[in-house]
Every structure is written in C-alpha cells, then in structure tokens.
C-alpha cells in the first residue's frame, strides 16, 4: 500500500515536471515569437518613418522638378553624405597665392 502511494506520488511529480518543462518551452517559444514580431514592427516603423521624412523633404525641396541651371559639373566624388568630395586634396604650394580665400 505504502509502495503504491509512493509510486503514484513519483508519477505525479514526474507528470508535474513534464508539464512545467512543456510550459517553460511554450513560454520561451512564445517569447521568441513576440520578440521577432516586436522587432519586425519596430524595424518596419523606423523605415516607414525615414521614408516619410524623405518624402516630406522631397515635397519641401521640390527635388523632383527640373531646373535649367542645376546641372553643375562636379569635380569629385559623391559620398553617402551627398556632398561632393574633391578628386584630390589641395597640394602644398610655395610662396604667395594667386588669389585669397578667406571670410567675406
């Protein structure tokens, strides 16, 4: 009798442990799914915000139109910043300048 009771107690404990383990896995899986969903949602929100900001800028600056005098030659390379860097940096030169660059 006592052995039966001990056996059923062990079985109940094992069943409880299995339930706890299963529950733990389910919670972990649900957490992972939620994390992925949240990450996707925030990532999507960020890119949407950037896109809308860019769109707003285009509207404000009217950059979609053509203007006859906007086609300057650029002597350099465009960087990610949009500024044109020079094809080469200034070189040292001796003596005085032919012209002066200063504040005006």
């Amino acid at each position: 009798m006592r052995r039966d009771r001990a056996g059923s107690a062990i079985a109940a404990r094992d069943a409880g442990l299995r339930r706890v383990t299963r529950l733990t896995w389910q919670v972990a899986a649900a957490g992972a799914v939620c994390s992925a969903l949240i990450a996707a949602a925030f990532g999507h929100g960020t890119s949407q915000q950037s896109a809308s900001q860019r769109g707003a800028s285009q509207t404000q600056t009217g950059s979609t139109g053509q203007t006859p005098r906007s086609g300057h030659q650029h002597h350099g390379k465009h960087r990610g910043s949009g500024l044109v860097i020079p094809s080469q940096p200034p070189a040292p030169a001796p003596g005085a300048g032919q012209v002066t660059s200063g504040g005006s």
Partner: protein, 335 residues
C-alpha cells in the same frame, strides 16, 4: 637647344559684386572681356533673383508674401533648392530661414551700410536701437527652420510657412562662383578660376602646378597674409570666418554666421575654416557648418573625407583628410 615653352600667361580681373570682391583668373589666350561679360550676366541674374537688400528682387517678393505661395523663376527655385540641400546635408546647421535673425541683429541692408551704421552708433550718434542689433539681447530662439519652406519646381513656386524668411547668403555666392567658372570654361574653352569673396571655383585644365590659393582669415587680405598657400586643380575651395562680415553693436561683437539653434551668431571654437570640395558650393556649405558645429566638426570632416583647415581662436590649426600640413600656422588675429 630649344628653350622650354613658357607657361600660358594668367590674366586677372578684380571687381566688386554682392558687396564683396570678385576675381577672375584666366589661363591661356582667352579674352578677359568675354569672360567678364559672361560672369556679369550670371552674377546680375543671381543678384536680381536672391538679393535680400533689393526691393526689386524675387527674394524680397517671396519674403514679403506673408506665407502665400509665390511663383518664382527657375533660377530662384534652383538657388532655394540648393539652400535646402545644404540644410539637409548639415542636419540644419546651415539653414536658409535665418533672415529674420540677421535682421534682428542689424544686418538688414548691404553690409557696407551695416558697418557704417555701427561705426556711427559707436561714436554716439543717433542710430535706432532696433536697427543696430539690439536684437542680440532679446531671446532670439531657434530660427523657423528649413522645413517651413515648401518648394516645387514644376511650376517653380515657393511658400514660406511659420514666419520663415529666407537668406541665401550661405549658398548663393558659392553657387554663382561654380556657375560662372562652368560657363566661362565651356564657352571660351579655357582654364578659369572664379573667386567671389573667397568662394573659389575652378574649371578647365588648370595651369601646371594648379591654381595657388592663399587661405587666410580675410579674403580681402593680400596674397601673403598670415595663412597657408595651397594649390587646387579642380572643384572648389571656400573659407568661412567669424572675423569678417562682423560688426559691433552695443559693445558686443556680432558676425553673420547664425547658429540656427539659437538665432544668434555662432559661438565657435573656430575663427576660420577652409574646405576643399568637388564644387565651391559644397566647400562653402561645409565650412559654414563647421563654424556652427564647433569641436565636433573635425570628426565630421574626417568621416566625409573632406580636406579642411580649421583655425582656432588662438591661431593654432587642425587639418583633415589630406589637407597639407600647415608649415607656419598663423597666430595673429585680425583686429
């Protein structure tokens, strides 16, 4: 034995425009009168489009439209578009909506008149407090901001909202230098350097050794003023400084480079910044932004790989991205 061919002669012409000094240098046999005629036509068009001090300019009409949409010329649309591009590229550090802030500081007319009025004021003669920059003591606050400018180019039209007023001084002059150099080189087939108040653009095949430019605090200083001489073959070079286009009001020193965050003259660790770029316009956008940014400008320039020379208030210099070492940094500060 034959003598080496002499390098092509360089011809020069200097004249006044936009309240500053313009210089044309031509290499080769191109006729200066023809180059000057081309430059004059471009500069006159830019002045009529965007002078803040001419009653008949398009910009004056835009600024006095009270927020109504205003049809504008393609040229002014381009100039405003470039000013907005400057604001975008500098995260708003170079902002075209600082006209009201400048006017509040007393810079509401041609600069020669501003200086003359400041001089009269300092001698104790009559000068309206409001018109001589008492605005410095007022809580100026952030300028309206470039996002208050709605520009469309087809048809060209602009609307200023939120009380914004435009000043294109930070970009239009350099744009005009690029434009003049491009037009002269293309139409006359020569090498040319155009300097508008120190905003320098070059086009065509440069003379051997490049164009020699003295970088210094004041563009009107002589070719051997304290500073450094460098040579450029293409693109542009521009310098911004707090020491020039500066005036005094009520005992306080003011200058024209506005920090959009405060609406007041930028308080910078740099007195002068020179930048080389693919065009004079971009060089000037960056040099102006560096004055506003202060210490963080060095990292920004390095990140963009833009060669620059930055002069601190004490005359010591910092250079970036391949700008030649400064053999003898200037320490003298202009009075």
């Amino acid at each position: 034995m034959r003598a080496a061919a002499a390098p092509p002669a360089v011809t020069r012409e200097t004249f006044r425009v936009f309240g500053t000094t313009a210089t044309l240098l031509l290499s080769g046999s191109a006729a200066m009168p023809a180059a000057r005629e081309l430059a004059d036509a471009e500069l006159a068009a830019v002045d009529l489009a965007c002078s803040r001090f001419r009653a008949d300019s398009e910009l004056t009409r835009v600024n006095s439209a009270g927020g109504a949409a205003t049809d504008i010329s393609p040229l002014l649309a381009t100039l405003i578009g470039e000013a907005l591009r400057a604001a975008r590229l500098t995260a708003g550090d170079v902002d075209p909506t600082c006209a009201a802030a400048l006017a509040a500081l007393g810079y509401d007319r041609d600069f020669d008149e501003v200086k003359a009025r400041a001089t009269r004021g300092s001698r104790g003669k009559t000068a309206s407090a409001a018109s001589t920059g008492r605005g410095l003591d007022a809580p100026a606050g952030r300028v309206p901001g470039w996002r208050k400018v709605e520009l469309s180019t087809d048809p060209p039209r602009v609307t200023l909202t939120g009380g914004a007023q435009l000043d294109l001084g930070a970009t239009a002059k350099a744009w005009a230098a690029d434009r003049c150099a491009e037009v002269i080189a293309a139409q006359l087939g020569c090498a040319v350097l155009v300097s508008l108040g120190g905003d320098i653009a070059v086009a065509g095949e440069a003379p051997a050794g490049g164009w020699r430019v003295r970088v210094t605090d004041d563009h009107a200083a002589g070719p051997d003023a304290p500073g450094q001489t460098v040579a450029i073959n293409a693109g542009g070079l521009a310098t911004s400084s707090t020491t020039v286009r500066a005036w005094e009001s009520h005992g306080r020193k003011l200058h024209h480079i506005i920090d959009p965050a405060t609406g007041k003259p930028a308080r910078s660790i740099w007195r002068t910044v020179s930048v080389a770029a693919g065009r004079a316009l971009d060089a000037n956008i960056v040099s102006t932004a560096c004055i506003v940014r202060g210490a963080s400008a060095v990292g920004w320039l390095t990140e963009m790989n833009l060669p620059a020379r930055l002069v601190r208030e004490d005359g010591t210099t910092v250079t970036t991205a391949g700008w030649p070492d400064d053999p003898a940094p200037a320490t003298a500060k202009p009075s």
